[in-house]
């Protein structure tokens, strides 16, 4: 009951509180809320209006007549100012218009000029288009001409092959012919001598008869009668030989006539008068292109690369290094590919040469010998040993039968390939660094700073040229008229073979000959010479102007040892002491 009572009391209290709260709200908030909201709205609006008023009328509103007059004065001033400004603007306007009128003709002139220029431009455009078209057609023509040229070259090569074969045959025939002639001459001599012999016999008999007549000194006479016979014999022999020689020389003109006929045939065809030219490989490079870029660089040997040579038809490159091998590279689309190694040398390779037909390769070596490989079978064919120092140069002589080698032992040797033996040795007493040879002469460069010219037949020195420093390299131009030498005084000398004197000296800033066997060569057309410097830079000189044509910086990091220019004139390959070979070309 008590709890129920208290519960009802509590409920009553709650109700009471709720009611009181409502009354409170009615009195305190509800009554005022609307008024306060409205007031605040009005306040806000008043504020807005005040702002508006401030914006519209910044200056305080005039309240007295003096203020009004002030204002009037001020306005008047403003109006006059505006008027003044107006006048100024009008003046400006007039002057500007005048200027505009002045500019008008100028504008017209400019426009006219522009039109003219435009016209000219169009004309030039047309011209340019025409020219470019012409360039295109010329390019096409050039391409076709080039193709034709290639074809002709191929054919020329074939013809040349045939020519060489014929020449060889011819030489054989001539030799046989000579032999036959000689035999015939001997027989004829014999025949001619027959009556004489008979006569002599008779004479001898007579003599015998006469000699027999004295009896006293019979035996002695007989003994002494022999020497006269010997004398007579010798006399007879001599006359025989005389006759033989004479008959041979008599018979020669006929054969040489025959030879001449054949030769003239070639001479006419090739437009050259040199006899030695006949044995030359094809030299049909019209003009060599100076390379500009390094197209390929690779490590070709395990060690120093000493020699490099293009084959006569430019499709093969041989490199020789201190790793005792020769490598043959195919030139395929302007790159070196498929290396083949020729082995057999017992020490590093010093020099390389292809035979004019491109069927053999000759190499000099550090092991005191020169070797010959066949390129048909890639087999070692001959070993030419006999030198007592390293062989620095090995070159083919005429008709492929003979080879000339130069060595550090101070001798030059001539080898016969048929006999596979040394046929003669020339002692120089100075280390030989390079050799070039022709049918009738040999040129050798030496460490005693001399270039020596040798006559093949007499094997005597026909000329000597003194240089300032050791000779490292020799090369002959394609037409066999110019000789190029490189020496340790960093000078390249071009000599005239006919005059045997130095004609030109080529040098360049920065060019330095790196070793005692650094090579310098002619371009196949003989217009340029190229050599590599100690810092791996290639220097190319123009022979005619005697000026440096260009220097090529590639990937060589060591002395360039040797260089070869392809007979086609398109590529140059240089090799250095640090395993690398670089192929240079101009495209």
């Amino acid at each position: 009951m008590a709890s129920g009572g208290s519960g009802s009391v509590a409920a009553e209290c709650k109700r009471n509180i709720a009611r009181k709260l409502r009354i409170r709200d009615r009195h305190q908030s509800h009554r005022y809320s609307a008024v306060i909201t409205r007031y605040n709205q009005l306040l806000e609006r008043a504020n807005v209006l005040r702002q508006w008023r401030d914006v519209c009328n910044p200056s305080s509103v005039p309240s007295s007549p003096s203020d009004v007059s002030d204002l009037q004065v001020r306005h008047q001033e403003k109006v006059t100012a505006i008027h003044r400004q107006n006048g100024q603007l009008a003046e400006d306007f007039i002057s500007l218009r005048k200027k505009l009128e002045e500019k008008e003709p100028e504008l017209e002139l400019t426009q006219g000029r522009m039109a003219k220029l435009e016209h000219q431009r169009e004309w030039l455009d047309v011209e340019r288009r025409k020219l470019s078209q012409r360039v295109l057609t010329l390019e096409q023509v050039n391409r076709s001409v080039r193709e034709e040229y290639e074809g002709l070259r191929g054919r020329c090569w074939d013809w040349d092959q045939q020519l060489r074969a014929l020449e060889m045959e011819n030489a054989e025939i001539i030799r046989d012919l000579m032999e036959l002639k000689a035999r015939a001459a001997r027989a004829q001599n014999h025949r001619i001598e027959e009556p004489q012999r008979v006569q002599q016999c008779c004479l001898q008999k007579d003599l015998a008869v006469f000699s027999n007549t004295p009896v006293c000194i019979d035996t002695d006479e007989e003994k002494e009668s022999h020497p006269p016979i010997d004398v007579a014999d010798e006399l007879k022999m001599r006359t025989n030989r005389d006759k033989l020689f004479r008959s041979a020389s008599v018979s020669l003109p006929r054969s040489s006539n025959f030879l001449q006929n054949i030769k003239q045939l070639f001479v006419r065809r090739r437009g050259s008068s040199s006899v030695s030219e006949v044995s030359d490989p094809i030299r049909i490079c019209v003009s060599a292109t100076v390379p500009t870029i390094s197209k390929q660089c690779l490590e070709v040997h395990d060690g120093e690369v000493n020699a490099v040579q293009f084959s006569p038809n430019s499709n093969l490159l041989a490199t020789g290094g201190s790793d005792r091998t020769i490598k043959l590279w195919d030139m395929v689309r302007g790159t070196l590919q498929n290396p083949k190694a020729l082995v057999g040398s017992n020490d590093g390779i010093t020099s390389l040469e292809f035979d004019p037909l491109g069927s053999m390769i000759l190499a000099g070596s550090y092991d005191n010998s020169a070797r010959l490989w066949s390129l048909d079978t890639y087999e070692l064919k001959h070993t030419l040993s006999g030198h007592s120092g390293k062989v620095t140069a090995a070159k083919f002589k005429s008709y492929l039968r003979q080879v000339v080698t130069g060595s550090y032992d101070g001798t030059l040797r001539i080898w016969d390939l048929h006999k596979e033996a040394c046929v003669s040795s020339i002692a120089v007493n100075s280390r030989c660094s390079d050799v070039i040879c022709s049918d009738y002469f040999i040129v050798s460069g030496h460490m005693d700073k001399k270039i020596r010219f040798w006559d093949c037949r007499t094997q005597t020195i026909s000329n000597e040229i003194h240089l300032q420093e050791k000779v490292t390299s020799l090369d002959m131009s394609g037409d066999r008229t110019q000789l190029l030498s490189l020496s340790r005084d960093d000078l390249l000398r071009v000599m005239d073979m006919r005059m045997n004197n130095v004609r030109k000296e080529l040098r360049a800033e920065g060019f330095k000959c790196g070793t005692d066997w650094t090579k310098a060569i002619f371009s196949p057309d003989g217009n340029y010479v190229v050599s590599g410097s100690i810092d791996g830079v290639l220097y190319i000189w123009n022979v005619d102007t005697e000026k440096l044509e260009t220097s090529l910086v590639g990937e060589h990091r060591a002395t360039v040892n040797a260089i070869s220019w392809s007979p086609s004139g398109d590529y140059v390959v240089s090799v250095d002491r640090a395993k690398r070979a670089t192929l240079w070309t101009d495209f």
């Binding site: 209290c13 009181k20 709260l21």
Partner: protein, 275 residues
């Protein structure tokens, strides 16, 4: 229970019409109109007077604007008391609207604490809640809450969001199990013009024999003078949220429903003047 919910809403949405007037001491560029606001009873001055401040700053020079403080009839108003309490204590029997003077200078250093940001109000508010929970639940409930719950309480008050506030505050007002009430009732009894700021004592909601204490019991215990004897005219007015609850009202219920957001029952006792 729906009645109880209404009571909570009425308490929360209680408003006092207020007229803010700029003090004569302040230097203004033009005449400052008074600004009227309906102030929420449960909130604090700092949270609801931004508009008024802006309104008065418009007419003042920037360099004259110091910290704002309020005065009612010569009495600086403490910003850390809820607005409703301040009104009940000082102006309950005067004509509405409540006229408050606004000051921007001559801050009464002796009487008021500085309050530069709302963070100070938040710190004070949260400390009150924690104190109240310490009395009610030995701080168990408030300590179990997460930081974001604390934040929600504050944001609910600051933005006047009843539902947001009560979603959390409900937990603080729950009684544990079958005890039928809090450990102690968090209450403060204020008197105008008194040296002491307020009276606060430990008082259980139930008597030792299990009977629930009423408001009258509390007053008998801590402020006997406020309870009128049977024949006497009552000398004091006991105000909570602007009303005089019956003295028989159960104290536990009062605490649950008529507490301010800081969880305290702020009771204002005004002496009734005879005239």
């Amino acid at each position: 229970m729906t009645d109880d919910r209404d009571v909570l809403r009425d308490v929360w949405f209680g408003r006092i019409p207020t007229c803010f007037t700029l003090s004569q001491d302040e230097i203004t560029e033009r005449e400052a109109e008074p600004y009227y606001l309906l102030l929420p009873r449960v909130s604090y001055f700092m949270l609801v007077t931004d508009k008024a401040k802006k309104h008065f700053q418009k007419v003042m020079r920037q360099e004259d604007v110091g910290e704002m403080w309020f005065e009612y009839e010569g009495l600086p108003l403490k910003w850390h008391y809820p607005i409703g309490l301040l009104f009940d204590l000082h102006a309950s029997n005067t004509a509405l609207p409540w006229n408050i003077l606004v000051h921007f200078k001559n801050f009464p250093e002796k009487e008021l604490l500085h309050c530069t940001t709302k963070d100070a109000v938040e710190a004070h508010f949260m400390s009150c809640i924690k104190e109240a929970d310490a009395l009610k639940h030995k701080s168990q409930v408030i300590n179990e809450m997460q930081k974001k719950d604390h934040k929600q309480l504050w944001m609910g008050l600051q933005n006047d969001k009843f539902d947001q506030f009560w979603a959390i505050n409900r937990k603080l007002m729950e009684c544990p199990g079958d005890e039928g009430g809090f450990r102690y009732i968090p209450f403060r009894i204020y008197q105008p013009l008194n040296e002491k700021p307020f009276i606060q004592k430990l008082f259980r909601p139930l008597s030792p024999d299990g009977q629930p204490h009423s408001l009258g019991d509390l007053l008998k215990e801590v402020f006997p003078a406020a309870v009128p004897s049977d024949d006497e005219e009552k000398p004091y007015q006991v105000l909570i949220h602007g009303i005089e609850p019956m003295l028989e009202t159960p104290l536990q219920w009062l605490s649950e429903h008529l507490s301010y957001p800081d969880n305290f029952l702020h009771i204002s006792i005004n002496h009734l003047s005879r005239d």
